[in-house]
Symmetry: C2
Subunit: 257 residues, 2 copies
């Protein structure tokens, strides 16, 4: 079982879109995929029509008591796609940081819970909220690789620098270093700002940056409107082709590990 976490403290950079696009493509290739929504805003859960306010169980419950494999399986929601299940989020997650307060040792909850599902899924993809908190920390610690979508524009580059600092601080606390790949998203070849930012991204982070880009593509919005994964809605769109190339690249990196 391979665990990828999609994270960036900057909002609206395409975290949820990347998680769903990659998950959809893996499912099409016959892989059994679990998508984990750790964002109290629950965009991922909504995308698949899950009304999280009606749910009895969600990611939140994993933090409240240690769950058995059977209990975790009960929190999972099926989707219209045979190979994709969701571990949903609820709004209650927004209070998790405050309710945990100074309680220590809460960084491994997700990692331990996900490991219990290792014979059920080939890939687990975790979508993160745009803020550093106990949920993001859990998702980073549980992952084999962190996928960091970054918009190709000025503010986003500054934001990336913060994300890197966050990972550095956290790295001190765990044994193995974080492995990450930076994905340039919403690339608009018509704007000078995009080209400049992309060049700067490569200068600053070199090898850690994927050698492709996800272009601006209005099909993503249209796909989310009718709640279908992008590769099901517009299989030969520029955006989906970019995620197919990205997936090939990530699988190649995974094989080398």
């Amino acid at each position: 079982m391979v665990v990828w976490t999609v994270a960036n403290q900057k909002g609206g950079v395409g975290k949820t879109t990347s998680t769903i696009s990659l998950g959809g493509l893996l499912a099409e290739r016959g892989k059994k995929v679990l998508l984990v929504d750790t964002d109290p805003h629950a965009s991922l859960s909504y995308y698949f029509g899950i009304e999280s306010e009606d749910l009895e169980l969600s990611v939140y419950d994993l933090f409240v008591q240690v769950s058995t494999k059977e209990q975790i399986m009960q929190t999972l929601c099926p989707t219209a796609y045979k190979n994709i299940d969701i571990l949903p989020a609820t709004m209650g997650l927004a209070t998790l940081d405050r309710s945990l307060g100074a309680k220590g040792g809460m960084g491994l909850v997700l990692k331990k819970a996900i490991q219990k599902l290792s014979d059920e899924y080939d890939y687990v993809l975790m979508d993160c909220p745009p803020v550093l908190g106990v949920l993001m920390v859990n998702a980073l610690v549980a992952s084999d690789r962190i996928i960091v979508p970054v918009q190709t524009e000025f503010l986003a580059l500054k934001g990336l620098d913060r994300m890197m600092k966050t990972m550095e601080i956290m790295q001190g606390e765990q044994q193995k270093p974080f492995i990450y790949t930076i994905i340039p998203t919403m690339f608009d070849k018509r704007t000078k700002a995009s080209l400049l930012a992309y060049k700067k991204l490569q200068d600053l982070y070199g090898e850690a940056v994927w050698n492709g880009v996800v272009p601006i593509d209005t099909n993503f919005r249209n796909a989310s409107n009718i709640q279908r994964v992008p590769s099901d809605f517009s299989p030969s769109s520029r955006g989906v082709l970019a995620y197919k190339n990205l997936l090939d690249y990530l699988i190649k990196l995974q094989k080398r590990m």
Copy 2:
């Protein structure tokens, strides 16, 4: 002194862009403007070239001890624009929720601090992080009107429903109801998704929705690249014209109060 808070739990909808665009236009009209950055990601502070990691004082300090007017004035940073000052954010804000834990009565910190500056500024605009926490609660409670930017697309409409629920829950705890205006942003008249979402927004929220839209405009990214407010960078662009109309609308509403 008028206080407007720009908030939405969804990321990347144009909160920071709206705060800076409206602030820039108010400053051009000769108003004295304070922009408050309550986002640990500090996009607003960076936009004006403030390296928040080097700062001694920031919004964080207001929560640590009760500050006098002089102390608050010391946390403020000037900008290249004579009528705009910034109350900056730092990364340390990300730990505020956990460090406050169960301590009650922390919802009025910003309101009390800002009131001490009432003879210094005509307008205070607060930019919020994309997550419900003590910082957003403080900014909502301190405001005369909440400005809610919403992308015209499916996921964002669902997100708005959450934001409304959040305001309803909080309203129970304070005496006066929240006053809010919903701003459709990143409107793309070429995509059916935008048109459908905009129509749905008006059906669901009627009067609370501004009667205009902020169109998709690449000038915003270009302006942020060279750290100039949009109305200084591209005064007659479609995006800036939309914010000028919005500002006229908001001032008219303010006069009726």
